[in-house]
Symmetry: C2
Subunit: 201 residues, 2 copies
């Protein structure tokens, strides 16, 4: 079995713990870090230390923030009528870049995923329901991922919120804009058919 | 333009400097590092510091090592007849895993890449030619990548070493084992045709 010098092996193992970094990528990153001046790796370590020290989860919406509540929760230019529920803090950026949503956010910090040990109680929906008491929220847009886990989570939220007088909506699923129908998978085409919209003159 | 809290932006920028980490991956890694205990990110920073402190390039072959010369250069079970020239230290692992090579290595630490500012003088082939003076090396296997840059580098090495009485060979190019000919690109099929081998009974 091929083995690198011990400190290099250890770094590769540490890097492999990061999701989306596999064995090959970890190896390339480790060799890259080796090849640059120590000063530059110090910048990286310092940047990691800094985010750990200064950032935390917003107590209202679970977004990552350096002020509490976060700027989305306090921004007076945003309306309180609609609440967009996303899985992770970085999903807020994805929605924001569209410029098409002007309400507030709520971050679940996960999805229902029994196989990963994430059950209904781990979703901590009390934090979401606590925001609905004042009656200001008229619509909740559930923007969890179009995956099995995201779908299950969306249905679970609908079940939990069924007694509230709030419109619950879900992001549309269908063909990606600019794509080719021949390359779409069957489930996507089925969703596109089910969600077909009427064309008017 | 969407912007994260400043320390998070800075970390994402630091991560994006690493080759093979794009904007999306940098973002995911940053949020992951935020979500784990500070103790675990300290392990990562410590592992980076440790490799920078204890590892360096072998003065003979440019491999990454913690002893100089490295263990490939001093291993008496390896033969001096053949020298395998690779682009990067991690390519040694790739060759070693095959178990099919028992000679020594030489790492170029790059390829000819004029667009990236890597010219012939940056390849530092003097370090390679310095190893050939004693006449022990009978064959040099050029194992640079099967890319335009790897090919150009291989041809450049052949030009530089033309006056040495040493056999120069190149890893074969052709269809990957277990693949489907229908999925191979034209250049690969052309190489497979050119390098066709005779079948004998």
């Amino acid at each position: 079995m091929f083995e690198y010098a011990q400190p290099l092996n250890r770094l590769i193992e540490e890097l492999k713990k990061i999701p989306s970094i596999g064995a090959k990528t970890a190896q390339r990153i480790a060799f890259y870090l080796l090849s640059i001046p120590a000063e530059e790796t110090d910048h990286l370590s310092e940047a990691i230390r800094e985010v750990k020290k200064t950032l935390f989860y917003c107590t209202v919406c679970n977004n990552i923030t350096n002020v509490d509540p976060c700027r989305y929760c306090t921004d007076s230019d945003r309306n309180d009528d609609s609440l967009c529920v996303v899985e992770e803090p970085y999903n807020i950026a994805t929605i924001e870049r569209t410029g098409a949503f002007h309400g507030r956010f709520h971050v679940l910090l996960g999805t229902l995923a029994p196989l990963k040990g994430m059950g209904p109680e781990d979703l901590k929906l009390e934090k979401l329901t606590a925001r609905l008491g004042n009656g200001r929220v008229k619509e909740i847009i559930i923007a969890t991922n179009p995956t099995a886990e995201g779908e299950a989570t969306a249905h679970f939220i609908v079940k939990v919120l069924k007694d509230y007088d709030i419109k619950l909506t879900r992001l549309a699923m269908g063909l990606p804009v600019g794509s080719d129908i021949d390359f779409a998978d069957q489930v996507t085409i089925k969703k596109a058919l089910e969600g077909r919209t009427e064309l008017k003159e």
